[in-house]
């Protein structure tokens, strides 16, 4: 296996990774941009093309025009070790087999995953993530004429509802677990953050769609797939639908950072003023340093791209802009904090770990993650705790402690492959 050599390896080609690549390449560094998805864009711009209009098209064209940026798609990090001449040696698993990359510096831009909370029936086909359904539709799922109920928490629910409507679905309603007072607080923060235009556009796109605050799904039912959802909380009703798009906020994807030994703080990757992590030569940018949306991701990406390549003179007012984005981030997490009553949604038999089919009752009896793993195999199945980890954090207050290389179940040939 011949290794690819680069000055800077960027892992994740979402808004943060793309912005980092462009900033770094402007200074002449050789940049390798890798993503496990089939193309650039990350979550918000999934499937975006350089020919598109708007922010994503402009950024993608910028990246395309830089001859010193190489992209590697379908590539997921499996292992990492010290490089032979310093720096890092990172092994990717790709559909074409393993690829080894030698890099002097690394920017981690792995984004976030959705938090799924278990309730009776959440494992039925047709119950999906909120961002999850958005991602599926952007990848070609046809929802024309389908009835979609959006539920969970966070501003993403509105973006998803608008996206579903634009794709031709009938959005039967949006159930947001946050209380009306908290939502008002968020509205004011958004106003101060200059997001009035954005919000007005969303509200216009969603005119006529019911929005139920302090409301959440208590049961999903159906035979072979979902047909009906019961809502509880402030608005109690039962609705017929084809899709329940339920996501309870986003969780920084810190797995990669943990693999590289970077320190975490409050569930996110800890970074300094230049986006540097606790590991020398490794930077982090975007959702993995704290959920803050696309603006924060882009600003942090640019910051990391410049500082990792020694172009501090180009920073200009980036630090000030970042300060504002982080204010907004703080108001986000206050307003959409999950209500404690969500912990009572699972019934004794509701599965928490979908890979190993471990029910709530079995986990309630465990004092910690470590015990739960030993006694029930919770978090030890195929997804390695990616789904049940954030759920167990909310339900039982456990912190997931499970990242061990390799990061994904590798075929043996990949591990041995030379």
């Amino acid at each position: 296996m011949t290794a690819l050599e680069t000055d800077l390896l960027i892992i994740g080609a979402g808004p943060a990774g793309l912005s980092a690549a462009l900033s770094a390449a402007q200074g002449g560094a050789a940049v390798l941009l890798a993503d496990l998805g089939p193309g650039p864009g990350g979550q918000i711009w999934r499937g975006a093309k350089a020919s598109d209009g708007g922010e994503s098209g402009t950024l993608l064209r910028g990246v395309q025009r830089q001859p010193n940026i190489t992209a590697l798609y379908g590539a997921q990090v499996a292992l990492s070790e010290r490089g032979p001449q310093g720096g890092h040696a990172v092994q990717f698993s790709t559909p074409q087999g393993p690829r080894r990359v030698l890099a002097q510096k690394i920017i981690l831009a792995s984004g976030a995953t959705e938090r799924f909370l278990p309730f009776p029936g959440w494992t039925l086909p047709g119950v999906v993530g909120a961002g999850g359904l958005q991602a599926m539709v952007k990848s070609g799922l046809d929802v024309r004429g389908a009835r979609v109920l959006v539920a969970g928490s966070g501003p993403l629910l509105l973006a998803v509802a608008a996206g579903m409507r634009a794709a031709g679905a009938e959005v039967v309603g949006v159930a947001e677990q946050a209380s009306p007072t908290r939502l008002l607080g968020f509205g004011l923060a958004a106003q101060r953050g200059g997001k009035v235009g954005e919000a007005a556009k969303l509200l216009w796109a969603l005119r006529g769609v019911p929005y139920w605050p302090a409301t959440y799904p208590v049961e999903a039912s159906g035979g072979e797939r979902l047909t009906q959802v019961e809502l509880g909380g402030l608005t109690r009703r039962t609705l017929e639908c084809d899709w329940l798009a339920a996501g309870f906020g986003l969780v920084p994807d810190t797995r990669l950072a943990a693999l590289f030994g970077c320190a975490l703080e409050g569930g996110a990757v800890k970074v300094g003023a230049w986006q540097q992590t606790s590991q020398p030569g490794i930077y982090a940018a975007g959702e993995l340093t704290g959920i803050g949306g696309v603006d924060k991701a882009r600003l942090e990406g640019s910051m990391a791209g410049y500082t990792a390549t020694g172009q501090v003179e180009r920073l200009r007012d980036l630090p000030t802009q970042l300060e504002q984005a982080r204010h907004f981030q703080a108001s986000l997490s206050r307003s959409f904090a999950l209500r404690p009553s969500l912990r009572t949604l699972p019934a004794a038999g509701t599965l928490i770990c979908r890979c190993e089919d471990v029910p709530h009752a079995a986990l309630q009896a465990c004092p910690s993650w470590t015990e739960a793993k030993l006694q029930t195999r919770c978090g030890m199945g195929t997804c390695q705790g990616r789904v049940c980890g954030p759920a167990a954090e909310t339900l039982y207050g456990w912190t997931f402690t499970g990242v061990r290389p390799p990061l994904l179940p590798l075929p043996l040939a990949d591990l041995l492959g030379e």
Partner: protein
């Protein structure tokens, strides 16, 4: 939109080019993609490579179908 043909569970399936294998399966009403350890039906959950619920065999290799774009002549077998 150009189209292409793949084979799903032994049947030819015509789909738009550029979509994911998962979207192709869902388009053919394959909502349930596997059985869980205790025999329950399971379909895709996250759409982004996190949950592994969408896995199936594509040209003999076990993959997360939400991450793989369709290609002409591809063969897809469900785990169900």
């Amino acid at each position: 939109m150009p189209e292409l043909v793949l084979t799903v569970e032994g049947q030819p399936l015509r789909v738009p080019a550029g979509i994911s294998v998962l979207a192709a399966l869902q388009g053919a009403a394959h909502w349930s993609l596997r059985r869980s350890l205790s025999g329950q039906r399971r379909g895709a959950l996250c759409g982004m490579g996190t949950c592994f619920e969408c896995r199936a065999r594509v040209d003999g290799v076990l993959v997360r179908t939400c991450l793989i774009p369709v290609q002409p002549g591809m063969t897809v077998e469900l785990l169900e």
